[in-house]
């Protein structure tokens, strides 16, 4: 199991990450997991001197999340990836690719969500999967 997980809410995301930066933590990455049909879990991972600390944010899928790229610039790439794969919108991204980082413009399904969420066809398949 992972230790040192702190639960936060969308209001204090930016505040908590700013506190991490002041304490000297290095940004590692974000992970996004789908919990059920309407919520996702976003985990923020930080590291200092080989000790890790995590923040867990549980949001409903249709609500935009404030971005941490003003605090940690390197987060823009992984937030764009989460936008592409899970269709979670981030507000205030430093460089916003608007769902074109991995996907083409005509792809409307979310590849990673197992449950039917958006208006178009059910259960997205990832293009390029060629396991027979």
């Amino acid at each position: 199991m992972i230790e040192q997980v702190l639960s936060i809410s969308p209001d204090n995301v930016v505040g908590e990450t700013a506190k991490m930066k002041v304490e000297g933590y290095r940004f590692v990455t974000l992970s996004c997991v789908e919990i059920d049909e309407t919520t996702v879990d976003i985990l923020y991972h930080f590291d200092r001197d080989l000790q890790m600390k995590h923040l867990r944010l549980t949001v409903p899928k249709d609500r935009p999340v404030p971005s941490i790229s003003p605090v940690y610039f390197a987060a823009f790439l992984v937030e764009n990836e989460i936008q592409d794969l899970f269709n979670i919108r981030f507000q205030g991204l430093a460089i916003d690719f608007d769902r074109t980082l991995y996907l083409e413009e005509e792809v409307k399904k979310t590849p990673f969500c197992k449950y039917v969420v958006i208006k178009t066809a059910p259960l997205g398949e990832v293009p390029g999967e060629n396991a027979s």
């Binding site: 991972h45 390197a74 991995y102 990673f112 396991a131």
Partner: protein
């Protein structure tokens, strides 16, 4: 002062894998660079939903061709920690041996490409000739040259016999002699220094704030290496991270060169301490829970987040590879440089784009 926008990549003679940079220039000096990736996205994380957790070892190995064994090792260590299995001591030392062999071949591949990026093709060929010896060691001991498939959950699939161990030691002696013979050409040549010293400088604070990993971070003076965590027998052999302080392309090249020599030393230490015993334990049951597993790849720190729920397939497998963390560094390094320095700087972070996009 004319402003031009030039696309660098995705097809470029110097890039091993496709990455696109949109460079804004003013009269040969770069003012802005925006990366765009997504050309080799294969969706391997989603395959975790249909392949069971034993078969995923072989899928995870193929995320990257160059650092393949280390991906599999990180995954196996994560699942072993989740299920409470401990790999036997001999398997842990064998993991050290094969992962250090992989690190050597990856750094030698990079050095060859780096020499090719400023046009030194004969050095490129000479370095890859040395690398062939290491690939021969891999093929003779495991069966395949690069994607070696020796990790299983609970240990290893193959073992090393005493004759193979002696043969590895004698081959490593040849490799060390050849590398030391090339040191004057790679490190002390006037032309090489002119193209790399002072280019793409990252200060210590910038490197830490951008969240970099691996030799790119260690060349700026921060001593962080995931092997210090002590996984897989690294806490039983002497290991110190290799650090340089300048932060430019030359320092990164120097870090990787010294790491090759350090890997030879680590393999010799591991072979000297190799214990006897079995190489794998039986595995029963299914994983349940969340775990984080981190390992040092040749390019930096790889981060695995595995979530399982007791079924045969994993719930979520999230991989963050080191090049994913190093790509934002390009946005900080490139402004102020000349257009002809771009290939050298892009290659100095050791881009492995197929890892980045999985």
């Amino acid at each position: 002062m004319t402003k031009t926008i030039i696309p660098f990549g995705p097809q470029h003679p110097v890039l091993p894998e496709p990455v696109h940079l949109k460079l804004t220039l003013e009269d040969e000096v770069i003012t802005e660079a925006i990366p765009a990736i997504g050309f080799v996205h294969r969706g391997l994380e989603k395959l975790a939903e249909i392949r069971d957790f034993h078969q995923m070892i072989y899928v995870v190995e193929r995320i990257c061709g160059i650092c393949s064994m280390i991906h599999a090792m990180c995954y196996c260590q994560g699942i072993e920690a989740l299920m409470g299995i401990e790999a036997p001591p001999r398997a842990r030392f064998l993991r050290v041996i094969w992962s250090e062999l992989h690190r050597m071949h990856s750094h030698l591949l990079w050095m060859g490409l780096f020499a090719d990026s400023f046009g030194f093709e004969s050095l490129f060929m000479q370095i890859w000739k040395i690398r062939e010896k290491i690939l021969d060691i891999d093929e003779a001991t495991t069966g395949n040259r690069i994607i070696i498939s020796v990790n299983v959950i609970g240990g290893m699939r193959k073992d090393l016999s005493p004759e193979q161990v002696n043969w590895i030691l004698s081959e490593l002696k040849d490799v060390e002699k050849e590398i030391k013979r090339l040191e004057t050409t790679i490190m002390n040549d006037y032309t090489v220094k002119k193209r790399t010293v002072g280019k793409g400088v990252l200060t210590r604070k910038q490197a830490y704030d951008l969240g970099l990993a691996g030799p790119t971070l260690r060349a700026s003076g921060i001593a962080q290496d995931m092997r210090m965590l002590g996984y897989a027998a690294f806490n039983e052999i002497n290991f110190e991270p290799v650090v340089e302080t300048d932060g430019d392309c030359y320092a990164r090249c120097r870090v990787r060169f010294r790491e090759v020599l350090q890997s030879i030393d680590l393999i010799r230490q591991a072979i000297a301490k190799l214990p006897d015993g079995e190489v794998a334990v039986k595995v029963k049951g299914r994983p349940d829970g969340e775990i984080i597993s981190r390992v040092e790849q040749p390019r930096g720190e790889v981060f695995y987040y595995i979530k399982a729920n007791g079924k045969k397939n994993l719930d979520r497998l999230r991989v963050r590879t080191p090049t994913f963390a190093n790509v934002p560094a390009l946005l900080a390094m490139l402004p102020g440089m000349w257009l002809s320095d771009v290939p050298v700087i892009v290659l100095s972070i050791d881009p492995c784009i197929s890892c980045t996009e999985r």
